[in-house]
């Protein structure tokens, strides 16, 4: 029988971790699903959000909330700028896209190392303090971060299903040629998709650094986790990525609680492999 304290920790901490992973993985799968681009620089955008945000606080004296908003918008523009300046020209060549985006990820890592050093950074939280649920202390920033992540994902869902441009993006993701034939500006839609995807990654990075900490070496770790979650959820399926993020997040939290922290990442990856053996296209992927 699980205790009340363990249940609360499980629910809240699991949701926080899952929410942050959902932000990064949904953006990653959105790009693939719509633009058919495997953007390996996505982990770099995730961490860039944290470092840009911290620079705004230290350089301009902004408060954490304002710098969070500005940094995620900045990352959005960086992502769409990368697409416009580099990827748009080579998007037909998948291997070239992989090479370019991987190189970008490493460049981002090195730039951060040169500018900020190898030390991790802790972003001042938007909300400080602790909230007690019974006897269980819960950092306010965790709860707030979880709420923000869930709200962002909800808004993403609304955007994709309820807005015109969202429906156009969905159409383009289903058939690029058909979308072109009916007069949709596919490149503009791709740029918007990159912007949204990068914005989500930037938001994820800022939230992550407020709850935990960010360091340059997370560029590749974030990419690996996002990629694994996206594969589990089904490449191109935003819904799949969100569900997979919560599966992975809760598995890790349960394992930390009952088996030990050292097993958490291993178990998460084992579950991903097992799921893919059973359903190779992922939970919500489309069979080709």
């Amino acid at each position: 029988m699980i205790s009340f304290e363990n249940l609360v920790v499980l629910l809240v901490y699991g949701a926080t971790l899952s929410g942050v992973w959902a932000l990064i993985s949904s953006g990653f799968t959105l790009i693939f699903g719509v633009c058919r681009l495997l953007n390996l620089a996505h982990g770099g955008l995730f961490i860039a959000g944290a470092y840009i945000g911290l620079s705004l606080i230290k350089g301009f004296g902004l408060d954490p909330l304002t710098s969070t908003v500005l940094s995620m918008i900045a990352v959005g523009f960086i992502g769409s700028g990368v697409y416009t300046g580099l990827l748009m020209k080579v998007k037909e060549h998948e291997v070239t896209v992989v090479i370019i985006t991987l190189a970008l990820a490493l460049i981002i890592e090195q730039v951060i190392l040169l500018m900020f050093g190898e030390h991790g950074i802790i972003f001042p939280p938007i909300l400080a303090g602790v909230v007690y649920l019974g006897d269980v202390p819960l950092p306010a920033m965790r709860i707030f971060g979880m709420a923000i992540a869930l709200a962002a994902l909800f808004l993403l869902g609304l955007f994709v299903t309820r807005t015109r441009i969202g429906r156009e993006i969905t159409a383009a993701s289903q058939d690029v040629e058909a979308a072109t034939f009916i007069g949709l500006d596919v490149n503009r839609l791709f740029i918007v998709t990159m912007f949204i995807s990068s914005l989500l990654a930037g938001l994820g990075g800022v939230l992550y650094s407020q709850i935990y900490a960010a360091n340059p070496f997370l560029v590749l770790k974030a990419l690996i986790f996002a990629f694994a979650i996206v594969i589990l959820g089904g490449l191109g399926s935003v819904k799949g990525s969100i569900v997979a993020s919560f599966i992975v997040g809760y598995i890790m939290t349960v394992v930390i609680m009952f088996l030990g922290a050292r097993w958490s990442e291993l178990f998460a990856l084992l579950i991903i492999i097992a799921a893919l053996i059973i359903r190779p296209s992922g939970l919500f992927g489309v069979r080709e």
Binding site: E5, V9, Y13, L17, G117, E118, H119, G120, I121, I122, P124, A128, G129, V130, V136, P137, P139, M141, R142, Y212, A213, N215, F217, L218, K221, M252, T253, I256, M257, G260, A261, R262, S264, E265
Partner: protein, 486 residues
């Protein structure tokens, strides 16, 4: 002889004898004046060689005394000369230069060499620094070691950081018979020397103590807290999942048992782990008074400090966290590390330098590079250069045919042992051949551990600075408890 003549003779004799006696009395009296009273004076001053003239008052009379003083310097023979054909001394530094623990070694060695060259070098020879990057790779370290010794002709090697890399590097060291004044904490290195002394005797650990001593330092923290009114009887351990902890955790747990202190749980965490809050909540639920960390590899000590400071549970944060030793830890945690108790590896906290040489090293390093030594490896490298200079000069003064010969220098290095530390930036001494450590294994050529030598001091973050809490002779602050614990 007539009577009158006899009388005249007697009178003359009397006068002669009386005069003699009188003169003798005068001489004796004068001698008495000059020889008494006998005083012994100890004059402590610098006396230049040559004649010394001084004026003293003897019996009310001013007397000028002149004495010739010959000042004896050691050695009395001419200064030793280097071996014929040797034109310079080459010191190698092999370390991970992309990391601050490696870069600081290069910087510190360079500073030491500049200072030594400014004073004439070693045996009158200029000293040159040769640097190589081991890139934290055993393969790279081995090949670079060989290159430095065979191609660059270094006379001595300084460096290291990773225990795994050090284990590999000891092989070319042994093969090429090169003195290696080393960093890295694994007990395995000293055990190699103990197991095959003749092969590995060139290795001396100078930067920090054998990793087993972390267990002893941990107990020191517990004892310090107890002495300051903070009783710990339950500990929650958060440790790296790494061999460096495997080697000393059993000893630590055993020592805790003897003090009736229970380890309520020991949690291993992988590299990059960040979910400390559930662990802290669990520690509190299990009744621990403190979380004892054993972290170096995880790389997320800043997250632990931050989450501990956020939750404000009735738990002390103590132990060994490599991140907490970093001077930038305060900034990187946003001050969340305030009140964290940690071990100051390598025996130096910059606010309390243990020796005058340490103080001036910190000042000169800061002046030269614009910031203080970034890691404790800097003290080890600086000491290594000066120690090498010292033993080479001693070997030369003793008349050794080749004072740079490694086999020769091993003997001179071994003289700096228990009871005969050399004061550098720390008081450095090495355990002798055949020494056994606290864990029952061989500690040959390990850095001697102790209050009078090098230890990981009990330290704490207070007000943005690292302070020393113990030992008493070095402390510069008292324990401060987090306000939420009072």
């Amino acid at each position: 002889m007539t009577g009158k003549e006899k009388t005249n003779v007697d009178r003359r004799s009397f006068i002669k004898y009386a005069a003699t006696a009188g003169i003798a009395a005068v001489v004796a009296g004068a001698a008495g004046y000059f020889s008494a009273p006998t005083r012994t004076e100890t004059i402590t001053r610098t006396i230049p060689a040559g004649e010394v003239t001084r004026t003293v008052t003897v019996g009310g009379q001013t007397v000028t005394q002149t004495q010739t003083v010959t000042v004896i310097t050691t050695p009395t023979r001419p200064p030793p000369k280097p071996p014929a054909g040797k034109t310079e001394v080459r010191i190698g530094v092999l370390a991970p230069l992309a990391d601050r623990q490696g870069k600081v070694q290069e910087n510190a060695a360079r500073l030491a060499i500049e200072e030594i060259n400014a004073k004439g070098g070693i045996l009158g020879l200029p000293v040159k620094l040769v640097v190589a990057d081991d890139k934290l790779s055993a393969d790279t370290a081995v090949s670079e070691f060989r290159r430095l010794v065979t191609a660059e002709k270094v006379d001595v090697m300084i460096g290291g950081y990773s225990s795994g890399v050090m284990t590999a590097t000891m092989e070319p060291m042994a093969e090429l018979k090169t003195i290696f004044l080393a960093d890295a904490s694994s007990p395995a290195h000293a055990r190699k020397v103990g197991a095959n002394y003749d092969k590995y005797k060139y290795w001396f650990r100078i930067t920090q103590n054998n990793g087993i001593t972390f267990a002893l330092d941990g107990i020191e923290q517990i004892d310090y807290l107890a002495a300051n009114g903070v009783k710990i009887d339950k500990l929650y351990v958060i440790r790296d999942e790494h061999i460096w902890v495997d080697e000393w955790e059993p000893l630590f747990t055993d020592l805790l048992k003897r003090k009736n202190i229970q380890v309520v749980k020991s949690v291993k965490i992988p590299r990059g782990y960040t979910e400390y809050e559930p662990l802290l909540i669990e520690a509190n639920r299990l009744g621990a008074q403190a979380v004892f960390n054993m972290l170096a590899i995880s790389g997320t000590g800043d997250v632990l400090a931050k989450q501990w400071s956020t939750l404000k549970l009735p738990l002390l944060l103590m132990g060994h966290d490599l991140a907490a030793i970093d001077l930038g830890f305060w900034q990187s945690t946003g001050g969340a590390c305030e009140y964290e108790i940690f071990m100051a590896d390598g025996g130096v906290v910059q606010t309390a330098p243990p020796t005058p040489m340490c103080k001036s090293f910190i000042e000169n390093y800061t002046k030269k590079y614009g910031y203080p030594p970034e890691a404790h490896q800097g003290y080890g490298a600086y000491d290594a250069v000066y120690l090498y200079k010292k033993v080479v000069e001693e070997a030369a003064a003793a008349g050794e045919s080749n004072p740079f010969d490694s086999d020769t220098l091993v003997k001179y290095l071994e003289r700096y042992t228990l009871g005969n530390a050399i004061e550098l930036t720390r008081k450095v001494a090495f355990y002798p051949k055949g020494a056994w450590g606290a864990d029952g294994t061989r500690w040959d050529h390990d850095l001697v551990w102790g209050d009078e030598y090098v230890k990981n001091w009990v330290a704490q973050w207070q007000g943005g600075k690292q302070v020393v809490l113990a030992p008493a002779w070095l402390k510069n602050a008292d324990l401060k408890l987090p306000p939420w614990l009072k």
